[in-house]
Symmetry: C2
Subunit: 502 residues, 2 copies
């Protein structure tokens, strides 16, 4: 029998979930519907709800209830996990003094605004004072969390995005990738150069056709439109609320391939959200398990399933049919084989968000190493542009001609999201490992994809990942699902198979 203290905690966290769900819809609205003149009023409304949420979570009463519920026991496994996640949330929220939370929120807001101008104007020097303040406050936040959680500074920040994530483990897998990628990339590019270049697709590709094709593929993947939507925003995302998962994309009438694969990427995130355990939907244990696992779900769908030759054999005729009225879809550019080559093209590039599957991890490893160095004082902000250029040369093989396409390209650091970057590549590795295990467990998975049947793969993900919520750690989840903890070797094998063996 759960104690009264535990029950009271569940009620309080359900209330916070109500606020979170309101915030999720308001954020979606802001990006997709809101008229510009409402910006300030909306900011006030969001801040009000965030403060109310923070007050509910950091109320000393929560500490008493947590102590009481932990002492009383009487909980089943899910309730115990729920209590553990409540404690985690409480620790993170109470670790940082209110004035530091406020100073940090103000500094990052101002720095984000300054960053937009600085990136446009290639003005790193102009951004530096504000970025230095964000770095300094982030370090203070990290120190506060470090003390409260008993973790190193970086791990304490990382734990906010990736519960249980540890730099020591990341160092190991990233070292393995960093040793592998430069030579591998060269090999892939050499092989690619020895073959004919993929043929470009000539449009136009009307938005409405792109939208319909995206909806069809979302439906095939199992997206539940009774509990979600597809819309348009400048920056694609997966958001919304419990039982109301809203993804967005951005259409380009001269190139449908990016928006379409973007839709499948966000659909991967959305399937995770829609597949969380219904009975725990509004409790901490019903949440998704951290940013790395979340990214793994988007990449499992996009990179593992949808960029496979199997799926593209299914999708190619649908693409041709979708655009037949507006483009000449009868030519050789529209074969499944050419589409596969387009969707697996590798290139040394300057911009992370445009990077392909092979070079993307290099962009991430670079940022991970630089942010750690800045946080622990080994790298001064003044030296960031130079260090960035050196690392790009080493890891990606290109050097940015300016900071706009260098250390100014991402919003994460100005926005205060330090220790976030590694989750992208952890996600890519987890995705490969999950897909590998699922293929072995479900012999019909790959043949299914050639018919647009995602059920074997998505069903496996639902059972092994989505339905687990936050009941287990990322490592426990991954080990239970694949038989072993994170193993960079599976990702490397996937890259070799796709880019060298095929």
């Amino acid at each position: 029998m759960p104690s009264a203290a535990y029950r009271e905690l569940e009620r309080r966290f359900a209330r916070m979930s109500g606020i979170d769900n309101a915030l999720g819809i308001l954020h979606w609205d802001q990006e997709t519907q809101m008229p510009e003149g409402a910006t300030e009023t909306r900011g006030d409304a969001l801040a009000t709800l965030q403060v109310l949420h923070h007050e509910l979570l950091t109320d000393p009463r929560v500490g008493e209830l947590l102590d009481g519920a932990e002492a009383a026991g009487g909980l089943d496994a899910w309730q115990q996990a729920n209590l553990r996640e409540m404690r985690r949330g409480y620790l993170h929220a109470t670790a940082v003094p209110a004035d530091l939370v406020e100073a940090s929120a103000k500094a990052t807001t101002a720095c984000e605004v300054a960053w937009r101008a600085a990136r446009r104007d290639n003005d790193f020097a102009g951004l530096k004072p504000r970025l230095a303040l964000v770095l300094s406050l982030t370090r203070q936040v990290g120190e506060a969390k470090s003390a409260a959680l008993g973790l190193d500074l970086y791990d304490a920040l990382l734990d906010g995005f990736e519960p249980g994530g540890r730099a020591a483990e990341i160092d190991a897998v990233f070292a393995e990738l960093a040793a592998f990628l430069p030579a591998f990339t060269a090999e892939v590019l050499e092989r690619q150069a020895s073959r004919p270049a993929p043929l470009p697709l000539a449009g136009p590709f009307p938005v409405e056709m792109q939208r319909r094709l995206g909806l069809d593929l979302m439906r095939a993947a199992g997206f539940d439109f009774e509990r979600g939507r597809l819309d348009v925003s400048a920056h694609p995302f997966c958001g919304g609320a419990d039982n109301d998962v809203r993804i967005t994309t951005r259409y380009d009438e001269t190139d449908f391939t990016k928006a379409l694969m973007g839709v499948m990427h966000e659909t991967g995130h959305a399937l995770y959200e829609q597949g969380r355990p219904a009975a725990w939907m509004h409790q901490p244990v019903g949440s998704s398990r951290g940013m790395a696992m979340h990214e793994s779900q988007s990449l499992a769908l996009e990179m593992q399933a949808c960029r496979s030759a199997e799926f593209l054999a299914y999708a190619a005729p649908l693409m041709r049919a979708a655009f037949a009225d507006h483009a000449d879809t009868g030519g050789p550019a529209w074969t499944a084989d050419n589409l596969h080559r387009l969707y697996t093209r590798v290139e040394r590039g300057l911009i992370r968000v445009d990077a392909d599957e092979v070079t993307y991890p290099a962009h991430v490893i670079l940022r991970y190493r630089l942010e750690r160095a800045m946080l622990n004082g080994d790298l001064a902000l003044d030296d960031l542009p130079g260090a960035w250029a050196d690392a790009m040369a080493d890891l990606v093989g290109v050097v940015p001609p300016d900071d706009r396409r260098g250390c100014l390209q991402d919003i994460h650091w100005p926005g205060g999201a330090w220790a976030y970057f590694p989750t992208y590549t952890l996600g890519a590795m987890i995705a490969a490992q999950l897909f590998d295990a699922a293929c072995k467990a479900e012999p019909d998975l790959l043949p299914g994809l050639t018919r647009g049947d995602f059920a074997p793969f998505v069903g496996w993900l639902r059972r092994h990942v989505h339905s687990q919520g936050s009941a287990r750690t990322t490592t426990e989840l991954l080990t239970a699902a694949t038989g072993r903890p994170l193993d960079a070797g599976v990702f490397k094998a996937h890259l070799r198979r796709r880019y060298l063996d095929a």
Copy 2:
């Protein structure tokens, strides 16, 4: 100098405004965007925010602060009015015990659901037990508010929708209208029958064309699209948030006239919301002044301005141009004169929401009299259908063949909105009085409408109504704007002019 207590109240009410703005967007989303499967989760989120709002407002600390701020003084006129409105909100919210609030919310939610089925099935007997419970709880709420506010039961309920509204004053103006309308309606219908019937407009009228025409007319009226939107919902409304005013309509491809005038009706509400004083936008004194004044703004735009011969002379060519590609807009049905006759057609009907300007007040007076009788125990629920039929025969001149088109047609009573109905007709009378005063003050008003220039009228409304927020009572506002308190004679004169003299 405002006291510290007053300043603290302003901060607290700004926070409540943040919650209200969140609620407004969530309600809009629910009616226009939300996938069906999110209904329950959304209900939880709305309830959470409502409870948080209620807790902020009814906190005993608010009572202490109000006492303190009232004793301290030092406020300018707007601050004093703001403090008065805070006290009003506090009195209403604390008047009703929490368990009665909850019982009432549950009963009305259940009764609304039952009402949908009962109306569909023409089953008054089936609805009766739930409606009796709502009536009984509403009476208890009224008694609690009556004790707290020192008002009669009906006035105490009315005050929640129409601050300062009193049944004694409504009785007087409604008696004048009830004495006038039956004979007047007969006279109008007789005159109408003596002239050729208006020619019908043949479509189709594509939604996109209707939408564009509506947007053009909204723009002409002064709707600010930087701080608002037009969308579609099953039941048109004006909602959203401060600086983010969202109106909706519902299109019918066989008849554009209803949706178009509906858009102008909601635009009237929206102009009020957009014109509230910017400096007080998030404080009680910056709110609109009650439901009667709000309805007056929608009716001033729709009934007074847009159904005038002057405006329709401007709109007719726009309508023809909008639909010229899809309908034969060259015929005599599309003259300004015929459009004016269509838009001022009078008919004895059973349904309030379909009623014209002449018969609408009779529908309202009937409901006002019946709800007062039910609340004070003079009319038993069992006798409602019979009393309804009798009053319809007397006031409108038709008798409903069933309850579906009789006492089951409106959601207000099942939904707990008792003492709301009179505000519709108070609004119609205020609208006529404002328009009359504005025409006298602004000689260019009517000529302006023939050119689609709303500036003289809307500018006058902004100065005399919108910008005043809740700084004055409805009667003070009306007297300052028109030189006298509510006068049914102006409304009667308007009806005579439009329906008999023209």
